[in-house]
């Protein structure tokens, strides 16, 4: 067994000391020192499926975009249609390059008519900001507030009850993808009903100085600390893409099965539109599929080869053991002609071909409409 590497000068969230005090195992993730687990990944995974877990997601980036032209500009920068959301609502969207590859995947909220909050991947924050800053239009203000903001995700069937206990004053009930603001110790906290686990839940965005207090409060009222390890197993069961795995600059949102978030009908010619249109007309070369291993095998892992009749047809993008379903499963990007539910494929695990079956996505989802 190899020792873990220690990497110097990693970025820390406002909660690093709190994680250490809980005995968390801290690891490097995209330049950040983050908790991968506290009590154990399986236990934390179960807590989110059965009660509620709390994740430090302060490494994620936040941009505030505002101004009279923000709507039209965002619609040219991002592939989903921002006009579909009114103030107090959010949507999943993607930032594309001209080739139709994915620079990043975002959640964006319309806070007010002309003000937006974008939540972006930690590892891509700098890249996204540089890309957008070069293209920023007049009457649009783009601010990177990632340093000033911290964030927590509260996820699981008991999230709503825990949220109400967290804030002293009564707070408004919101639906999936809605966002509202509520004060905590005199400062505004943005509360969005969204998440990355396949459970009901919330993500909270707030000034960094509130982080320690809110974290302790959420744990006191019943939230279970959960790390990046459980976050990954939970999102894999729910088939949510992870940037760098299911999405990259060389994978299009159409290949990743995210066509629902690409608006070809909006008036703005968004970056990547022409490439995606061509790809759609020509037929997609690859598709992202979900698969389960059919025998007793080791778990599939990212970058393992996918074979059909001994020929390589693609590779695993994410894989592992599903704690909820007790199966070995994964996502794979494979040649379109083989990407059909019910097809049998082989996964190459340490030079051995192991049988798997393509199944419908997602493996698991507990979201009520």
């Amino acid at each position: 067994m190899a020792d873990r590497k220690t990497v110097p000068s990693l970025k820390k969230t406002p909660l690093t000391a709190a994680h250490q005090a809980l005995g968390a195992r801290l690891v490097e993730f995209g330049g950040w020192l983050m908790p991968v687990q506290y009590a154990g990944i399986l236990q934390e995974h179960r807590a989110v499926r059965e009660t509620a877990g709390v994740f430090d997601i302060s490494h994620m980036g936040e941009f505030i975009i505002s101004g009279p032209s923000a709507e039209a500009w965002l619609n040219a920068m991002l592939c989903n249609d921002i006009r579909a959301i009114s103030p107090g609502h959010g949507q999943y969207t993607l930032l594309l390059n001209e080739a139709g590859g994915v620079l990043d995947d975002w959640y964006i909220y319309r806070l007010e008519d002309q003000t937006y909050l974008a939540v972006v991947n930690a590892t891509e924050t700098g890249k996204d900001f540089n890309w957008l800053q070069k293209k920023v239009a007049s009457n649009v203000t783009l601010k990177n507030v990632s340093e000033e903001y911290a964030a927590l995700a509260l996820q699981g069937p008991q999230s709503e009850a825990i949220l109400y206990k967290t804030f002293d004053k009564e707070i408004r009930r919101i639906r999936r993808n809605q966002i509202m603001t509520t004060p905590y110790q005199g400062q505004p906290v943005w509360v969005a009903r969204t998440g990355y686990t396949g459970e009901d839940g919330y993500e909270l965005f707030f000034p960094a100085e509130l982080a320690e207090g809110l974290w302790q409060r959420l744990l006191t009222v019943g939230g279970v600390p959960a790390g990046l390890g459980a976050r990954d197993t939970l999102r894999l069961e729910a088939c949510y893409p992870l940037y760098g795995h299911e999405l990259s600059e060389t994978i299009s949102p159409l290949e990743a099965g995210l066509g629902h978030f690409v608006s070809f009908d909006k008036p703005e010619r968004f970056t990547g539109k022409d490439s995606l249109r061509r790809q759609k007309d020509a037929g997609l070369p690859r598709r992202l599929v979900a698969f389960e291993m059919t025998g007793l095998t080791a778990p599939p892992r990212a970058r393992y080869a996918v074979l059909v009749d001994g020929q390589r047809v693609g590779e695993v993008t994410s894989g592992g053991v599903s704690p909820t379903l007790k199966k070995n499963l994964g996502l794979a990007l494979i040649d379109h002609s083989h990407a059909k539910v019910g097809n049998r494929i082989d996964i190459e695990i340490r030079d051995q071909r192991r049988p798997a079956l393509i199944v419908p996505k997602p493996f698991y989802n507990n979201l009520r409409k």
Partner: protein, 127 residues
């Protein structure tokens, strides 16, 4: 975190332990190693009869997060594997030095045993 390090075993810096009896070495991973890996979900064991060189990859332990190679502490032929790990891989976590043993080697060169760490030396390595 204080790991359990029994005094009667030999160790390798890569966190395997070894015990010997009648020229047969029993190999597993240390308490420290199982804690680092956390939840073990699968153990891939070497085929019986395979001859392993010292420090060669011998088994693979899969935790929820990742696959880790386990190395042969000394050279030898695989004469037994712990089949109980197929049904209950978490034995490696619960009982790393007993029920979680992985494989047995018929030691090819007893001279190699001298290069292994004793409990005090392994404890010092963990710091």
């Amino acid at each position: 975190m204080n790991s359990h390090i029994p005094d009667n075993l030999k160790y390798v810096a890569s966190h395997e332990w070894l015990s010997t009896q009648n020229g047969i070495a029993t190999v597993g991973i240390t308490d420290h190693a199982q804690a680092e890996l956390s939840d073990v979900v699968y153990v891939e064991l070497p085929p019986l009869g395979k001859t392993l060189a010292a420090k060669a990859p011998a088994a693979v332990v899969e935790s929820v997060k990742a696959a880790s190679d386990i190395y042969a502490p000394v050279s030898g032929e695989v004469v037994a594997v712990n089949s109980a790990l197929a049904a209950d891989p978490a034995l490696v976590n619960r009982s790393p030095y007993e029920q979680g043993w992985m494989f047995k080697l018929k030691i090819a060169d007893p001279g190699e045993l001298a290069a292994l760490l004793d409990a005090a030396a392994y404890r010092a390595k963990l710091g």
